[in-house]
């Protein structure tokens, strides 16, 4: 089902299979409007109110300042793949309005990941496809005029391929979903890019390479490849490489299969660049990237008697710098840091991070909402970020007694847990991410909202990834869920939240303030134009 909205955003419909063939037009109209907008923004930026004062200002208009960021004023703007804008001009005007809300299940994005440089962005969906976006590198004339330099921050489709197919385990009569659970990029070592993608059972290593030249001038063959008549050859020539249209090839290089009995929920590439770990509900395996027929089991929490099962592994990650350390989170809300130098089987943790439960807040659903859905090391390697159903917590590796920071993502849902249990929303697994300087954390919520928290001030801001408010280059305005007190214009009541619109997957550019948000089948890319480069603290 092709979906062609009237405005530009990165729709994840079937049109992506033809994405690469579209010419990327320079839409001058948008740039002129953006420059006029930019002028308006520059007026705003010239005022000197500090960040905290900006927070206190009432009224949240289209151009309101927001952002408790270290720089004092961040403004998230929508940067959309220009591809979609070109498409609309060419295609016939078909009224797809009534089909707008129809989402093919297979198009739902299930993971988003930037590579180490941020030039490439990979997304996986429930249909087993991977779509890779590449950042535009040409600097436009108008951007230089306004003082912006460097990359534009727009991403275009680079390649699409089918990573996993639906499978069936005949021995256990189990159907294996093709949904891509995680994608992780390998550090780049040569011109090609490598990424790992996994579904519930099988991990695959893919090589993404470009070809933009081809040899021409063979002696024995002509351009079409037919053998030449030898008598016509009068001189010898050396074949030369001639530029051709860019072609992106994606080939599977390794398939790591049969390593897991339970569903794989995480993969993490080691800092040594040679190994990676994959975690399922009860076990964690370590693989060598070059060896597919065996793996090392480094964690096994399966009890001898499954009746005794009390917790499962929910996420795992290698330390960003120490190749012997990794952490895994459990459904009980604990984190375990393991050192592979201690023993071959790391069932015994080196450190256990656990927050004592508050007995006053006990409910039927205490176990569910304390289950950690995602764990991420900070870029510095000093902190851990975890997400459970209602909060995001920052832990210091040196302190295992409890988190050093706790952020309430949507505390207003605590009284709704029963309804959320009924409609299964309580089982949603939200991801969380750090920004490049580890000063801001971000995580998703419902109603297409996502939240950012500034660690320095502890303040949080709610933003929305929703097409009606995401025109190209529009500034995102902050949103608020009304939980009492003075109601402001634009506040959303808790009962009017749309729980089918959930932001589960997201990624933050490794060095810049560019974020990619997956909202069901849509991908949004936002950039902080005021501070495109993250300021070091």
């Amino acid at each position: 089902m092709t979906r062609k909205p009237a405005w530009a955003h990165c729709s994840r419909g079937r049109t992506h299979t033809h994405a690469c063939t579209h010419t990327r037009k320079d839409s001058s109209s948008s740039s002129s409007s953006s420059s006029s907008r930019r002028t308006a923004f520059s007026t705003l930026t010239s005022s000197t109110s500090p960040a905290l004062a900006a927070w206190a200002e009432p009224g949240w208009g289209e151009r309101a300042r927001f952002g408790p960021f270290p720089s004092g004023r961040a403004r998230w703007r929508v940067t959309l793949p220009r591809l979609q804008m070109g498409e609309d001009a060419e295609s016939p005007k078909i009224n797809h309005t009534f089909l707008r809300d129809y989402v093919t299940e297979a198009d739902v994005i299930s993971t988003v990941e930037f590579n180490q440089t941020g030039d490439l962005l990979a997304t996986g969906d429930k249909g087993g496809r991977v779509v890779i976006f590449q950042r535009e590198t040409e600097s436009k004339g108008e951007s230089e005029e306004a003082g912006e330099t460097g990359d534009s921050g727009e991403y275009n489709v680079y390649s699409t391929f089918q990573s996993h197919e639906p499978d069936f385990d005949y021995l256990k009569s189990l159907e294996i979903e093709e949904k891509i659970n995680k994608i992780k990029w390998l550090p780049q070592q040569n011109a090609a890019h490598f990424l790992l993608s996994t579904n519930d059972k099988t991990i695959k290593l893919w090589k993404v390479s470009e070809r933009d030249k081809r040899p021409e001038g063979y002696n024995l063959k002509d351009e079409e490849g037919r053998l030449k008549d030898i008598s016509t050859i009068t001189s010898l020539q050396v074949p030369v490489l001639k530029p051709t249209d860019l072609m992106v090839e994606v080939r599977p290089r390794r398939v790591f299969a049969n390593g897991h009995t339970y569903h794989v929920n995480s993969i993490s590439v080691n800092s040594d660049g040679e190994t990676y770990l994959s975690a399922d509900d009860l076990r964690i395996n370590m693989w060598h990237l070059g060896i597919t027929d065996r793996s090392f089991n480094i964690v096994d929490i399966k009890p001898a008697n499954m009746e005794d099962l009390t917790e499962v592994i929910t996420a795992a990650e290698f330390h960003p710098h120490h190749c012997h350390l990794f952490v895994y989170s459990s459904s009980k809300g604990t984190l375990r840091l393991c050192d592979m130098r201690a023993s071959a089987l790391c069932d015994k943790h080196t450190k256990l991070f656990e927050e004592p439960e508050d007995p006053g807040s006990r409910s039927f659903f205490s176990e569910i909402i304390s289950s950690v859905s995602d764990v991420k090391f900070s870029h510095s390697g000093r902190y851990l970020l975890t997400r459970d159903y209602l909060t995001a917590k920052v832990w210091d590796l040196n302190m295992d007694k409890g988190p050093v920071e706790t952020y309430q993502v949507h505390e207003y849902l605590r009284s709704k847990l029963c309804s959320l249990y009924e409609n299964d929303c309580i089982f949603d697994k939200f991801e969380c991410v750090w920004n490049s300087s580890d000063s801001v954390i971000m995580t998703g919520a419902y109603n297409s909202f996502f939240r950012m928290f500034d660690r320095e001030t502890g303040r949080g801001v709610t933003l929305e990834a929703w097409r009606e408010s995401s025109k190209p280059r529009a500034v995102l305005r902050t949103r608020r869920v009304y939980t009492g007190g003075k109601r402001r214009r634009g506040d959303v009541g808790v009962d009017s939240l749309d729980f089918t619109k959930k932001i589960l997957h997201m990624a933050w550019h490794p060095s810049e303030n560019i974020i990619a948000i997956a909202a069901t089948n849509n991908l949004y890319i936002f950039q902080d134009r005021v501070n495109p480069e993250t300021q070091t603290q």
Binding site: K172, H263, D281, M306, E307, P359, R362, C418, S419, F427
Partner: protein, 293 residues
Amino acid sequence: MECAVDAQSLISISLMKIHNSRTQRGGIKLHKNLLVSYVLRNARQVYIKEKYAEIYRMQQYEEVMTVCNEIQELNPLDLDAEDADNEEQARAACCGEETSLCDPACHRGAAQSAAHVRTASTLLGCSPFEDGSKEAEPSDYRSCCMEASPVSHFDQFSADNNRHCNKTTVLDLDTHVVTTVENGYLHQDCCCNPPQCGQEAQSPGKKRKVEFGCCISDMEEISDFTAARKRAKREDCSYSNPDYTDTSNISNLISIFGSGFSGLLSRQADLEQICSKQALASLGAWTRAIVAF
């Protein structure tokens, strides 16, 4: 979007989720089913507590022994015949620990006489649940006991109690070992037998059971229940038994849980045994409080 935060409805919802997970694509999700089983356990804790409160509300403390005989004829309408005032002070001390688990379930009002209300408020169990030391409002206790429906449940479950024992085939996904397990000990006749079916090793020292246990009979009961529930979950994970139909499974689960709730009522012999002082002294804090008064 409010729903009834009621132990019974949560139990039925959880059962449906477990049942539906058998047929969903991608296989059983271990994590989700584990979380659902936690909700089941929590709901059952509350449900059992309410049952205890109701049972003890209806009898006088000194007549616990005769209560064991009368349990078969348990009828909440008999409340009127009892003199609640005498017992009020006797049981005042029983309202020690209370968990907030009761609170979500405490919002069902039902019309009952004031005498019962007072009795109920004093009777509500001190339970050695790991999770509670908060004392709820007396008004909350009152409504906790006002459950009119359990009677019908008992009738239904006692009927189920006489059902035939069922076998479960369990496949371990790792070792591919197939085990056939009897659900038989949940049957009324088998209640007094120690649970030795299948691979269950029910050591009383298990943490899970301590959480449940208020008294030995319930402990055994709950260990059976835990085992049955976990087995039910594992049974969901087993795909090697193509003969299973969905309807038979859901009825199996209900019969398991049903007999779990009514087992206490049917096992008179065990209760008599337990009601002896020596047995009481060895039980948890909850029953210790009763012994003290």
